[in-house]
Amino acid sequence: MRVALGVLGVALAAYGGWLLLRTQDTGEVLTIGVWLGAGVVLHDAVLAPLTIVLGWAVARRLPDPVAAGAVVVLVVLGSASLVAVPVLVNSAGPQTNPTLLVRDYPLGWLELAGASLVLAAVVTAAVLRSDEARRRNGADPGRR
Protein backbone atom coordinates (compact mmCIF):
# COMPACT_ATOMS: atom_id res chain seq x y z
CA MET A 1 0.00 0.00 0.00
CA ARG A 2 2.87 2.39 0.82
CA VAL A 3 4.42 1.68 -2.56
CA ALA A 4 1.11 2.32 -4.34
CA LEU A 5 0.69 5.60 -2.44
CA GLY A 6 4.24 6.65 -3.32
CA VAL A 7 3.79 5.81 -7.00
CA LEU A 8 0.49 7.72 -7.07
CA GLY A 9 2.26 10.68 -5.45
CA VAL A 10 5.04 10.72 -8.03
CA ALA A 11 2.46 10.45 -10.83
CA LEU A 12 0.37 13.38 -9.52
CA ALA A 13 3.46 15.55 -9.04
CA ALA A 14 4.68 14.70 -12.54
CA TYR A 15 1.25 15.63 -13.93
CA GLY A 16 1.52 18.97 -12.09
CA GLY A 17 4.95 19.57 -13.59
CA TRP A 18 3.66 18.73 -17.06
CA LEU A 19 0.66 21.07 -16.55
CA LEU A 20 3.06 23.84 -15.55
CA LEU A 21 5.14 23.41 -18.70
CA ARG A 22 2.06 23.09 -20.92
CA THR A 23 0.09 26.08 -19.62
CA GLN A 24 2.90 28.61 -19.09
CA ASP A 25 5.49 30.02 -21.45
CA THR A 26 9.21 29.72 -20.67
CA GLY A 27 9.44 33.11 -18.97
CA GLU A 28 6.50 32.28 -16.70
CA VAL A 29 7.93 28.86 -15.84
CA LEU A 30 11.17 30.57 -14.80
CA THR A 31 9.30 33.13 -12.66
CA ILE A 32 7.30 30.35 -11.00
CA GLY A 33 10.56 28.47 -10.39
CA VAL A 34 12.01 31.55 -8.70
CA TRP A 35 8.88 31.88 -6.55
CA LEU A 36 9.02 28.20 -5.59
CA GLY A 37 12.66 28.52 -4.56
CA ALA A 38 12.11 31.86 -2.83
CA GLY A 39 9.47 30.31 -0.55
CA VAL A 40 11.93 27.68 0.71
CA VAL A 41 14.79 30.18 1.08
CA LEU A 42 12.60 32.73 2.87
CA HIS A 43 11.46 30.09 5.32
CA ASP A 44 14.71 28.25 5.89
CA ALA A 45 17.11 31.20 5.82
CA VAL A 46 15.00 34.04 7.23
CA LEU A 47 11.85 32.99 9.06
CA ALA A 48 13.18 29.87 10.81
CA PRO A 49 16.45 31.50 12.07
CA LEU A 50 14.43 34.51 13.22
CA THR A 51 12.11 32.21 15.16
CA ILE A 52 15.12 30.45 16.70
CA VAL A 53 16.64 33.73 17.82
CA LEU A 54 13.31 34.88 19.26
CA GLY A 55 12.76 31.53 20.97
CA TRP A 56 16.26 31.61 22.42
CA ALA A 57 15.80 35.17 23.74
CA VAL A 58 12.41 34.29 25.24
CA ALA A 59 13.67 31.11 26.89
CA ARG A 60 16.73 32.88 28.35
CA ARG A 61 15.12 36.09 29.51
CA LEU A 62 11.65 35.12 30.66
CA PRO A 63 10.48 32.76 33.40
CA ASP A 64 8.66 29.68 32.02
CA PRO A 65 5.04 30.76 32.58
CA VAL A 66 5.70 34.09 30.79
CA ALA A 67 7.63 32.28 28.06
CA ALA A 68 4.56 30.08 27.52
CA GLY A 69 2.56 33.26 26.89
CA ALA A 70 5.26 34.49 24.51
CA VAL A 71 4.88 31.28 22.48
CA VAL A 72 1.17 32.12 22.09
CA VAL A 73 2.04 35.57 20.76
CA LEU A 74 4.67 34.15 18.42
CA VAL A 75 2.43 31.43 16.93
CA VAL A 76 -0.87 33.35 16.79
CA LEU A 77 0.30 36.86 15.94
CA GLY A 78 3.30 35.65 13.93
CA SER A 79 1.23 33.58 11.51
CA ALA A 80 -1.56 36.18 11.42
CA SER A 81 1.02 38.84 10.52
CA LEU A 82 2.30 36.80 7.57
CA VAL A 83 -1.26 36.34 6.32
CA ALA A 84 -1.81 40.10 6.78
CA VAL A 85 1.10 41.16 4.52
CA PRO A 86 -0.96 41.33 1.28
CA VAL A 87 -3.83 43.36 2.78
CA LEU A 88 -1.48 45.66 4.69
CA VAL A 89 0.73 46.37 1.66
CA ASN A 90 -2.02 46.47 -0.95
CA SER A 91 -4.37 48.70 1.07
CA ALA A 92 -1.60 51.29 1.42
CA GLY A 93 -1.67 51.89 -2.35
CA PRO A 94 -4.30 53.58 -4.53
CA GLN A 95 -7.72 51.88 -4.56
CA THR A 96 -9.87 51.44 -7.66
CA ASN A 97 -12.46 49.07 -6.20
CA PRO A 98 -14.61 50.47 -3.35
CA THR A 99 -15.56 46.93 -2.16
CA LEU A 100 -12.01 45.56 -1.93
CA LEU A 101 -9.74 46.13 1.10
CA VAL A 102 -12.48 48.05 2.88
CA ARG A 103 -11.20 47.77 6.43
CA ASP A 104 -8.56 49.61 8.44
CA TYR A 105 -5.94 46.84 8.36
CA PRO A 106 -3.25 48.45 10.55
CA LEU A 107 -5.97 48.89 13.19
CA GLY A 108 -7.08 45.28 12.64
CA TRP A 109 -3.53 44.09 13.16
CA LEU A 110 -3.31 46.10 16.40
CA GLU A 111 -6.57 44.53 17.58
CA LEU A 112 -5.15 41.08 16.84
CA ALA A 113 -1.96 41.99 18.68
CA GLY A 114 -4.06 43.04 21.68
CA ALA A 115 -6.09 39.84 21.52
CA SER A 116 -2.93 37.69 21.41
CA LEU A 117 -1.55 39.52 24.46
CA VAL A 118 -4.79 38.74 26.32
CA LEU A 119 -4.55 35.08 25.24
CA ALA A 120 -0.90 35.06 26.34
CA ALA A 121 -1.89 36.38 29.76
CA VAL A 122 -4.55 33.67 30.07
CA VAL A 123 -2.03 30.95 29.17
CA THR A 124 0.56 32.36 31.59
CA ALA A 125 -2.04 32.40 34.38
CA ALA A 126 -3.07 28.83 33.57
CA VAL A 127 0.55 27.60 33.66
CA LEU A 128 1.15 29.40 36.97
CA ARG A 129 -1.99 27.89 38.48
CA SER A 130 -1.21 24.33 37.39
CA ASP A 131 2.40 24.68 38.65
CA GLU A 132 1.04 25.94 41.97
CA ALA A 133 -1.44 23.06 42.24
CA ARG A 134 1.27 20.48 41.50
CA ARG A 135 3.61 22.01 44.05
CA ARG A 136 0.88 21.96 46.71
CA ASN A 137 0.22 18.28 45.99
CA GLY A 138 3.93 17.64 46.18
CA ALA A 139 3.86 16.26 42.63
CA ASP A 140 6.42 16.56 39.85
CA PRO A 141 6.08 19.98 38.11
CA GLY A 142 4.95 18.21 34.96
CA ARG A 143 6.65 17.47 31.69
CA ARG A 144 7.40 20.37 29.51
Partner: protein
Protein backbone atom coordinates in the same frame (compact mmCIF):
# COMPACT_ATOMS: atom_id res chain seq x y z
CA UNK B 1 41.37 26.46 0.20
CA UNK B 2 41.20 27.94 3.66
CA UNK B 3 37.84 28.82 5.17
CA UNK B 4 37.49 32.59 5.56
CA UNK B 5 37.57 33.57 9.26
CA UNK B 6 34.06 35.08 9.09
CA UNK B 7 32.60 31.76 7.96
CA UNK B 8 34.57 29.84 10.58
CA UNK B 9 33.00 31.99 13.26
CA UNK B 10 29.46 31.48 11.89
CA UNK B 11 27.75 28.84 13.98
CA UNK B 12 26.59 26.22 11.45
CA UNK B 13 24.22 24.07 13.47
CA UNK B 14 24.02 20.31 13.34
CA UNK B 15 20.91 18.24 14.02
CA UNK B 16 22.06 17.89 17.64
CA UNK B 17 22.15 21.66 18.16
CA UNK B 18 18.36 21.52 18.49
CA UNK B 19 17.49 20.19 21.90
CA UNK B 20 13.85 21.16 22.60
CA UNK B 21 11.66 18.14 23.27
CA UNK B 22 8.82 20.01 21.54
CA UNK B 23 10.57 19.30 18.22
CA UNK B 24 9.29 15.74 18.28
CA UNK B 25 7.76 13.43 15.70
CA UNK B 26 4.83 13.08 18.11
CA UNK B 27 4.05 16.79 17.63
CA UNK B 28 4.95 16.81 13.92
CA UNK B 29 2.55 13.98 13.09
CA UNK B 30 -0.35 15.51 14.99
CA UNK B 31 0.03 18.91 13.32
CA UNK B 32 0.80 17.16 10.02
CA UNK B 33 -2.42 15.17 10.19
CA UNK B 34 -4.53 18.34 10.28
CA UNK B 35 -2.29 20.04 7.73
CA UNK B 36 -2.90 17.03 5.47
CA UNK B 37 -6.65 17.38 6.02
CA UNK B 38 -6.46 21.08 5.08
CA UNK B 39 -4.44 20.35 1.93
CA UNK B 40 -6.83 17.54 0.95
CA UNK B 41 -9.87 19.81 1.36
CA UNK B 42 -8.17 22.64 -0.54
CA UNK B 43 -7.10 20.26 -3.33
CA UNK B 44 -10.51 18.62 -3.83
CA UNK B 45 -12.43 21.92 -3.70
CA UNK B 46 -9.79 23.57 -5.89
CA UNK B 47 -10.03 20.89 -8.60
CA UNK B 48 -13.81 21.22 -8.42
CA UNK B 49 -13.55 24.99 -8.84
CA UNK B 50 -11.19 24.58 -11.79
CA UNK B 51 -13.63 22.12 -13.39
CA UNK B 52 -16.58 24.47 -12.76
CA UNK B 53 -14.73 27.11 -14.81
CA UNK B 54 -14.21 24.83 -17.84
CA UNK B 55 -16.07 25.94 -20.95
CA UNK B 56 -17.19 22.44 -21.89
CA UNK B 57 -17.61 20.15 -18.90
CA UNK B 58 -17.65 16.48 -20.03
CA UNK B 59 -20.03 15.77 -17.13
CA UNK B 60 -21.85 19.00 -16.18
CA UNK B 61 -21.86 19.87 -12.48
CA UNK B 62 -25.28 19.89 -10.78
CA UNK B 63 -27.32 23.11 -10.61
CA UNK B 64 -28.40 22.38 -7.02
CA UNK B 65 -27.91 23.23 -4.25
CA UNK B 66 -27.71 26.86 -5.42
CA UNK B 67 -25.13 27.49 -2.67
CA UNK B 68 -22.92 24.52 -3.62
CA UNK B 69 -20.02 26.53 -5.03
CA UNK B 70 -20.37 29.07 -2.22
CA UNK B 71 -19.67 26.27 0.28
CA UNK B 72 -16.92 24.45 -1.62
CA UNK B 73 -14.99 27.60 -2.49
CA UNK B 74 -15.48 29.01 1.01
CA UNK B 75 -14.00 25.76 2.34
CA UNK B 76 -11.12 26.06 -0.13
CA UNK B 77 -10.05 29.44 1.23
CA UNK B 78 -10.73 28.46 4.87
CA UNK B 79 -8.59 25.30 4.54
CA UNK B 80 -5.77 27.22 2.87
CA UNK B 81 -5.82 29.98 5.49
CA UNK B 82 -5.90 27.55 8.42
CA UNK B 83 -2.95 25.71 6.84
CA UNK B 84 -0.64 28.72 7.29
CA UNK B 85 -0.03 28.38 11.07
CA UNK B 86 -0.18 24.58 10.80
CA UNK B 87 2.57 24.55 8.14
CA UNK B 88 4.73 27.00 10.11
CA UNK B 89 4.53 24.99 13.34
CA UNK B 90 5.10 21.72 11.50
CA UNK B 91 8.18 23.10 9.76
CA UNK B 92 9.43 24.38 13.12
CA UNK B 93 9.21 20.88 14.63
CA UNK B 94 11.23 19.31 11.78
CA UNK B 95 13.69 22.15 11.17
CA UNK B 96 16.65 20.21 12.74
CA UNK B 97 16.36 17.65 9.94
CA UNK B 98 17.63 20.29 7.53
CA UNK B 99 21.01 19.92 9.24
CA UNK B 100 21.12 16.12 9.18
CA UNK B 101 24.57 14.76 8.39
CA UNK B 102 24.99 13.73 4.76
CA UNK B 103 25.57 9.94 4.51
CA UNK B 104 28.91 8.87 3.02
CA UNK B 105 27.94 5.48 1.58
CA UNK B 106 26.64 5.72 -2.00
CA UNK B 107 23.40 3.76 -1.43
CA UNK B 108 22.39 5.80 1.61
CA UNK B 109 23.43 8.99 -0.13
CA UNK B 110 21.12 8.33 -3.08
CA UNK B 111 18.27 7.58 -0.68
CA UNK B 112 18.93 10.74 1.35
CA UNK B 113 19.12 12.91 -1.78
CA UNK B 114 15.84 11.47 -3.07
CA UNK B 115 14.04 11.88 0.23
CA UNK B 116 15.33 15.39 0.91
CA UNK B 117 14.68 16.35 -2.70
CA UNK B 118 11.06 15.25 -2.38
CA UNK B 119 10.74 17.23 0.86
CA UNK B 120 12.18 20.32 -0.86
CA UNK B 121 9.58 19.96 -3.63
CA UNK B 122 6.83 19.52 -1.03
CA UNK B 123 7.85 22.55 1.03
CA UNK B 124 8.36 24.72 -2.06
CA UNK B 125 4.99 23.75 -3.53
CA UNK B 126 3.13 24.07 -0.21
CA UNK B 127 4.56 27.53 0.56
CA UNK B 128 3.88 28.62 -3.04
CA UNK B 129 0.23 27.54 -2.85
CA UNK B 130 -0.43 29.29 0.47
CA UNK B 131 1.49 32.45 -0.43
CA UNK B 132 -0.09 32.91 -3.87
CA UNK B 133 -3.53 32.01 -2.51
CA UNK B 134 -3.36 34.51 0.35
CA UNK B 135 -2.01 37.24 -1.97
CA UNK B 136 -4.66 36.52 -4.59
CA UNK B 137 -7.63 37.02 -2.25
CA UNK B 138 -6.28 40.53 -1.55
CA UNK B 139 -5.76 40.98 -5.33
CA UNK B 140 -2.11 41.69 -4.60
CA UNK B 141 -0.60 40.67 -7.92
CA UNK B 142 3.13 40.84 -7.39
CA UNK B 143 3.86 38.23 -10.06
CA UNK B 144 3.64 38.16 -13.83
CA UNK B 145 2.35 34.64 -14.36
CA UNK B 146 -1.25 33.48 -14.58
CA UNK B 147 -2.42 32.89 -11.01
CA UNK B 148 -5.15 30.45 -11.92
CA UNK B 149 -3.10 28.05 -14.04
CA UNK B 150 0.04 28.27 -11.85
CA UNK B 151 -1.90 27.76 -8.59
CA UNK B 152 -3.69 24.82 -10.22
CA UNK B 153 -0.58 23.11 -11.65
CA UNK B 154 1.46 23.52 -8.45
CA UNK B 155 -1.50 22.11 -6.46
CA UNK B 156 -0.95 18.78 -8.26
CA UNK B 157 2.78 18.96 -7.48
CA UNK B 158 2.05 19.70 -3.79
CA UNK B 159 -0.52 16.92 -3.51
CA UNK B 160 1.73 14.40 -5.25
CA UNK B 161 4.72 15.30 -3.07
CA UNK B 162 2.47 15.12 0.00
CA UNK B 163 1.25 11.60 -0.89
CA UNK B 164 4.85 10.49 -1.45
CA UNK B 165 5.83 12.03 1.91
CA UNK B 166 2.99 10.21 3.68
CA UNK B 167 4.03 6.95 2.00
CA UNK B 168 7.64 7.36 3.18
CA UNK B 169 6.72 8.39 6.74
CA UNK B 170 3.72 6.12 7.27
CA UNK B 171 5.35 3.70 9.77
CA UNK B 172 6.58 6.55 12.02
CA UNK B 173 3.30 8.44 11.69
CA UNK B 174 1.33 5.36 12.66
CA UNK B 175 3.61 4.64 15.62
CA UNK B 176 3.55 8.15 17.10
CA UNK B 177 -0.16 8.71 16.54
CA UNK B 178 -1.09 5.50 18.35
CA UNK B 179 1.27 6.34 21.26
CA UNK B 180 0.91 9.12 23.84
CA UNK B 181 2.02 12.58 22.71
CA UNK B 182 4.69 12.58 25.44
CA UNK B 183 6.15 9.24 24.28
CA UNK B 184 9.82 9.69 23.33
CA UNK B 185 10.47 6.47 21.32
CA UNK B 186 10.79 8.34 18.03
CA UNK B 187 12.49 11.48 19.35
CA UNK B 188 16.03 12.43 18.43
CA UNK B 189 18.26 11.38 21.35
CA UNK B 190 19.33 14.97 22.10
CA UNK B 191 15.82 16.42 22.10
CA UNK B 192 15.27 16.38 25.85
CA UNK B 193 15.31 20.04 26.94
CA UNK B 194 11.93 21.07 28.41
CA UNK B 195 10.13 23.84 26.54
CA UNK B 196 8.06 26.64 28.08
CA UNK B 197 4.94 24.67 27.13
CA UNK B 198 4.03 21.01 27.22
CA UNK B 199 3.57 19.23 23.89
CA UNK B 200 -0.18 19.29 24.47
CA UNK B 201 0.11 23.00 25.20
CA UNK B 202 1.95 23.65 21.94
CA UNK B 203 -0.68 21.67 20.02
CA UNK B 204 -3.49 23.67 21.63
CA UNK B 205 -1.76 26.95 20.79
CA UNK B 206 -1.41 25.74 17.19
CA UNK B 207 -5.13 24.90 16.88
CA UNK B 208 -5.91 28.27 18.44
CA UNK B 209 -3.70 30.05 15.90
CA UNK B 210 -5.37 28.19 13.02
CA UNK B 211 -8.78 29.29 14.30
CA UNK B 212 -7.79 32.92 14.93
CA UNK B 213 -6.06 33.33 11.55
CA UNK B 214 -8.95 31.73 9.67
CA UNK B 215 -11.61 33.91 11.28
CA UNK B 216 -9.48 37.05 10.98
CA UNK B 217 -8.62 36.57 7.31
CA UNK B 218 -11.36 34.46 5.75
CA UNK B 219 -14.66 35.21 7.52
CA UNK B 220 -15.26 38.68 6.01
CA UNK B 221 -18.61 37.80 4.43
CA UNK B 222 -19.86 35.43 7.16
CA UNK B 223 -22.55 37.54 8.89
CA UNK B 224 -22.01 36.13 12.40
CA UNK B 225 -18.21 36.45 12.27
CA UNK B 226 -17.51 39.44 10.03
CA UNK B 227 -16.85 41.82 12.92
CA UNK B 228 -13.94 39.60 13.98
CA UNK B 229 -12.56 39.38 10.43
CA UNK B 230 -10.12 42.24 10.90
CA UNK B 231 -7.78 41.11 8.10
CA UNK B 232 -10.43 40.05 5.54
CA UNK B 233 -10.21 41.81 2.16
CA UNK B 234 -14.01 41.84 1.82
CA UNK B 235 -16.97 42.90 3.92
CA UNK B 236 -20.75 42.99 3.57
CA UNK B 237 -21.10 46.39 5.21
CA UNK B 238 -22.14 49.44 3.22
CA UNK B 239 -22.18 48.36 -0.39
CA UNK B 240 -23.93 45.02 0.06
CA UNK B 241 -22.58 42.48 -2.42
CA UNK B 242 -18.86 43.04 -3.09
CA UNK B 243 -17.57 43.58 -6.62
CA UNK B 244 -14.66 41.62 -8.03
CA UNK B 245 -13.92 44.00 -10.88
CA UNK B 246 -15.45 47.43 -11.37
CA UNK B 247 -16.79 48.75 -14.69
CA UNK B 248 -13.88 51.18 -14.83
CA UNK B 249 -11.30 48.42 -14.20
CA UNK B 250 -12.96 46.34 -16.94
CA UNK B 251 -12.95 49.32 -19.31
CA UNK B 252 -16.66 49.07 -20.13
CA UNK B 253 -18.07 52.31 -18.66
CA UNK B 254 -18.72 53.95 -22.04
CA UNK B 255 -20.24 50.93 -23.76
CA UNK B 256 -22.35 49.86 -20.76
CA UNK B 257 -23.84 53.29 -20.11
CA UNK B 258 -24.52 54.07 -23.80
CA UNK B 259 -28.10 54.51 -25.12
CA UNK B 260 -27.06 52.35 -28.06
CA UNK B 261 -26.57 49.29 -25.82
CA UNK B 262 -28.19 46.16 -27.23
CA UNK B 263 -28.18 42.53 -26.20
CA UNK B 264 -28.02 40.07 -29.10
CA UNK B 265 -29.57 36.61 -28.72
CA UNK B 266 -28.78 34.13 -31.50
CA UNK B 267 -29.45 30.50 -32.39
CA UNK B 268 -28.20 29.45 -35.80
CA UNK B 269 -29.59 31.92 -38.34
CA UNK B 270 -32.22 33.32 -35.95
CA UNK B 271 -31.37 36.44 -34.01
CA UNK B 272 -33.16 39.00 -31.85
CA UNK B 273 -31.67 42.30 -30.73
CA UNK B 274 -32.97 43.78 -27.46
CA UNK B 275 -32.48 47.12 -25.76
CA UNK B 276 -32.65 47.34 -21.97
CA UNK B 277 -36.17 48.79 -22.35
CA UNK B 278 -37.22 45.78 -24.39
CA UNK B 279 -35.67 43.42 -21.83
CA UNK B 280 -37.62 45.19 -19.08
CA UNK B 281 -40.83 44.71 -21.10
CA UNK B 282 -40.41 40.91 -21.08
CA UNK B 283 -41.82 38.87 -18.14
CA UNK B 284 -39.67 39.58 -15.07
CA UNK B 285 -38.68 36.87 -12.58
CA UNK B 286 -36.92 37.13 -9.24
CA UNK B 287 -34.44 34.63 -7.80
CA UNK B 288 -32.38 34.76 -4.61
CA UNK B 289 -28.91 33.55 -5.53
CA UNK B 290 -25.40 34.04 -4.14
CA UNK B 291 -22.43 35.54 -5.91
CA UNK B 292 -19.66 33.19 -4.79
CA UNK B 293 -16.20 34.39 -5.77
CA UNK B 294 -13.19 32.14 -6.39
CA UNK B 295 -11.55 34.32 -3.75
CA UNK B 296 -13.77 32.66 -1.15
CA UNK B 297 -16.18 35.46 -0.28
CA UNK B 298 -19.86 35.18 -1.09
CA UNK B 299 -23.01 37.20 -0.68
CA UNK B 300 -26.62 36.55 -1.54
CA UNK B 301 -28.85 38.91 -3.48
CA UNK B 302 -32.37 39.07 -4.82
CA UNK B 303 -31.97 39.30 -8.60
CA UNK B 304 -34.76 40.34 -10.99
CA UNK B 305 -34.69 40.03 -14.75
CA UNK B 306 -35.57 37.85 -17.72
CA UNK B 307 -35.36 34.09 -17.42
CA UNK B 308 -32.59 32.78 -19.70
CA UNK B 309 -34.96 30.08 -20.98
CA UNK B 310 -37.50 32.76 -22.04
CA UNK B 311 -34.77 34.50 -24.05
CA UNK B 312 -33.77 31.23 -25.70
CA UNK B 313 -37.44 30.65 -26.62
CA UNK B 314 -37.43 34.00 -28.50
CA UNK B 315 -35.01 32.49 -31.01
CA UNK B 316 -36.65 29.08 -31.00
CA UNK B 317 -33.74 27.28 -29.35
CA UNK B 318 -34.61 23.77 -28.16
CA UNK B 319 -33.78 22.72 -24.58
CA UNK B 320 -30.56 20.84 -23.92
CA UNK B 321 -28.12 23.17 -25.67
CA UNK B 322 -25.00 24.83 -24.30
CA UNK B 323 -25.17 28.64 -24.34
CA UNK B 324 -22.27 31.05 -24.66
CA UNK B 325 -22.77 34.34 -22.81
CA UNK B 326 -20.34 37.13 -23.75
CA UNK B 327 -19.58 40.45 -22.11
CA UNK B 328 -18.95 43.94 -23.42
CA UNK B 329 -15.69 43.37 -21.55
CA UNK B 330 -13.64 41.69 -24.22
CA UNK B 331 -12.60 38.88 -24.21
CA UNK B 332 -14.80 37.67 -21.37
CA UNK B 333 -17.41 34.98 -21.81
CA UNK B 334 -18.71 31.77 -20.29
CA UNK B 335 -20.37 28.66 -21.65
CA UNK B 336 -23.41 27.63 -19.62
CA UNK B 337 -23.92 23.86 -19.63
CA UNK B 338 -27.41 23.05 -20.97
CA UNK B 339 -28.78 22.22 -17.52
CA UNK B 340 -27.78 25.70 -16.29
CA UNK B 341 -29.07 27.50 -19.41
CA UNK B 342 -32.47 25.82 -19.05
CA UNK B 343 -32.66 26.22 -15.26
CA UNK B 344 -35.67 28.35 -14.19
CA UNK B 345 -33.44 30.25 -11.73
CA UNK B 346 -30.91 31.31 -14.40
CA UNK B 347 -31.63 34.95 -15.24
CA UNK B 348 -30.40 37.78 -17.36
CA UNK B 349 -30.64 40.08 -14.35
CA UNK B 350 -31.61 43.76 -14.72
CA UNK B 351 -32.07 44.61 -11.04
CA UNK B 352 -30.54 43.71 -7.69
CA UNK B 353 -32.46 43.92 -4.40
CA UNK B 354 -35.19 46.01 -6.05
CA UNK B 355 -32.92 48.64 -7.62
CA UNK B 356 -31.66 48.78 -11.21
CA UNK B 357 -28.23 47.14 -11.47
CA UNK B 358 -25.33 49.49 -10.81
CA UNK B 359 -22.65 49.76 -13.49
CA UNK B 360 -20.24 47.83 -11.27
CA UNK B 361 -22.76 45.01 -10.79
CA UNK B 362 -23.16 44.63 -14.56
CA UNK B 363 -25.64 47.28 -15.83
CA UNK B 364 -27.44 47.11 -18.26
CA UNK B 365 -27.77 43.31 -17.86
CA UNK B 366 -25.81 40.48 -16.26
CA UNK B 367 -25.95 36.72 -16.03
CA UNK B 368 -26.84 35.11 -12.71
CA UNK B 369 -27.12 31.32 -12.42
CA UNK B 370 -27.31 28.95 -9.44
CA UNK B 371 -24.21 27.13 -8.15
CA UNK B 372 -21.66 28.79 -10.46
CA UNK B 373 -18.28 30.45 -9.75
CA UNK B 374 -18.64 34.24 -9.54
CA UNK B 375 -16.14 34.77 -12.35
CA UNK B 376 -18.54 32.91 -14.70
CA UNK B 377 -21.52 35.14 -13.79
CA UNK B 378 -20.80 37.39 -16.76
CA UNK B 379 -21.50 41.13 -16.30
CA UNK B 380 -22.39 43.70 -19.02
CA UNK B 381 -23.88 40.94 -21.22
CA UNK B 382 -23.67 41.80 -24.93
CA UNK B 383 -24.37 38.47 -26.61
CA UNK B 384 -26.15 35.21 -25.84
CA UNK B 385 -25.40 32.49 -28.37
CA UNK B 386 -26.96 29.03 -28.45
CA UNK B 387 -24.22 26.55 -29.41
CA UNK B 388 -25.06 23.69 -31.74
Amino acid sequence: MRTPPVLRRLPIPTEDSFTSRLRSAAVTARVGLWLGVCFAVAFVTGVLSHYAQLDHQPVPLPTRPVWGYQVTQGLHVVAGTAAVPLLLVKLWTVFPRLFQAVPRRAGELVRAVLERGSIAVLVAAAVFELATGVANVAQWYVWDFSFRSAHYAVAWVATGALLLHVAVKLPVVRAVLTADVDDTTHDRPGAVRPGPLTRRGLLRVTWLAAGVVTVAAAAGTVPALRRLAVLAPRDLAGGGIPINRTAREAGVVGAAAAESYRCVVTAGSRQVVLSRQQLLALPQRTATLPIACVEGWSASGSWTGVRMRDLLDLVGAPAGKEVRVSSLQSPHDTVLPASFADDPKTLLALALDGDPLSLDHGFPARLIAPDRPGVEQVKWVARIEVLS
